[in-house]
């Protein structure tokens, strides 16, 4: 297992195939929570945390239980249940043992249960037949990419909120057009991986 491949996966999933801007995963929390930089950073950090945790739990289950006993068809059902339970457990544990962290992230944890980016990352790990280290790198990169997109976009949004667009573009349409331009900007990263790792 070489280190270079892991870095390539992290950069690839964070910048080139950014979950929100290129793969359309997790649009709801992205649009819902990106009004202030502080909130979006909290949401982004929670997503990084839960993605890593979900990958660390689902990958061994898929490899050592589902594939071993030929139960691959239970993947979707089991993964979404694992993520839902995991989020609840994490919330209880963080509330009990690290109250400071809970007051910062607690609000965002329940929202993550039905975030399709989390289920998406765990299923994509299996679909791409990544090893455990590669899966963790993919989850880390994906989470960091989500955090980056949220923080950058909330900065943009604080400005667009104060503009005066034509009435029919007020609200969601203007927001979506800003996302589109940001997504276009992320296209610039496409050449990066070939330059760095090619």
């Amino acid at each position: 297992m070489d280190f270079k491949a892991l870095v390539a996966i992290i950069i690839g999933s964070a910048l080139i195939n950014n979950f929100v801007l290129r793969q359309f995963l997790g649009i709801c929390p992205f649009l819902g929570v990106s009004k202030e930089i502080k909130n979006s950073a909290g949401m982004g950090i929670s997503v990084v945390f839960v993605m890593l945790l979900a990958t660390a739990v689902t990958w061994p289950i898929q490899t050592f239980v589902l594939e071993r006993f030929g139960l691959g068809y239970l993947q979707t059902l089991l993964f979404i249940l694992i993520i839902a339970t995991l989020v609840q457990f994490v919330e209880i544990a963080v509330k009990k043992f690290i109250p400071a962290l809970y007051s910062a992230l607690g609000v965002y944890l329940p929202l993550i249960t039905t975030n399709c980016a989390i289920l998406g990352v765990t299923i994509a790990n299996i679909k791409n037949s990544y090893t455990f280290a590669q899966s963790m790198a993919h989850a880390l990169g994906g989470g960091l990419g989500f955090l980056l997109a949220m923080v950058v976009f909330s900065g943009i949004r604080e400005h667009t909120e104060n503009t005066d667009p034509p009435p029919s573009f007020r609200g969601l349409p203007l927001t979506l057009i800003s996302v589109s331009i940001l997504s276009l900007a992320f296209f610039g990263f496409s050449g990066v991986s070939e330059g760095l790792f090619g």
Binding site: Q75, L77, L119, F169, L172, P173
Partner: protein, 220 residues
């Protein structure tokens, strides 16, 4: 007459995508080709139908406190079913939908209908509701996908459109195009209906009909 309105409200007056802005992830991701949109719409309608029937049948048996986990299990079960059916009988569609087929399990339209409608109404009403909402979702998906396919790649349903194929805008078929086309569609709807059609002006968790499902008060 009431039954008819349950069926049609999902298509126009309460269209889940265009009016309530639910299920944006699949709407934007799968809408590069009209054929994918129809396939995804049909798959989601199947899951919606199955989950609405099952939840409506079990609505007296499911204790209120654990209803969210019950929804998750039922919906994920139907998603697994449709995954197998599509893989067996429509393999090209299975490949082009990719990860978004299992992700129907996270689709907030399905959750919202389970929580808002199926949990409180009879089986017949729930079936009508599922068909209406599924048709509304498919229609919205088809509209976005047609626009993106016609102007993005100059084809429609895989057939080349004479005169357009050399003047297309490939950007629309790519990721940024999805956001732009949907934004313009919502803006047109706003304009045509004088700002009345789109119910949700702001995109926030407070106004989301599935807020109680996604944990903001449901699971505890």
């Amino acid at each position: 007459m009431k039954k008819l309105s349950i069926l049609t409200k999902g298509i126009f007056k309460e269209n889940p995508v265009l009016v309530f802005l639910l299920g944006l992830c699949p709407t934007l991701a799968v809408s590069t080709q009209a054929s994918n949109a129809i396939g995804m719409g049909a798959a989601t309608t199947f899951v919606l139908l199955g989950s609405n029937i099952a939840i409506s049948l079990c609505r007296r048996a499911i204790p209120d406190k654990v209803r969210i986990p019950c929804y998750i299990v039922l919906i994920a079960g139907f998603v697994t079913l449709i995954q197998m059916i599509v893989e067996a009988y429509a393999y090209p569609l299975y490949m082009s939908l990719g990860i978004f087929l299992p992700l129907i399990a996270c689709n907030c339209i399905v959750f919202a209908r389970a929580e808002v409608f199926a949990n409180k109404n009879t089986v017949i009403d729930s079936i009508l509701d599922a068909v209406g909402m599924g048709a509304g979702f498919t229609l919205a998906l088809f509209a976005v996908a047609s626009l993106r396919e016609i102007f993005g790649s100059g084809t429609w349903y895989g057939l080349a459109i004479p005169g357009l194929s050399s003047y297309n805008v490939p950007l629309l078929a790519m990721a940024p195009g999805g956001f732009i086309v949907f934004a313009v569609l919502i803006a047109i709807l706003n304009k045509v209906s004088n700002g009345k059609a789109v119910k949700k002006k702001e995109f926030g968790c407070a106004g989301c009909p599935s807020a109680s499902v996604c944990g903001k008060g449901g699971a505890r």
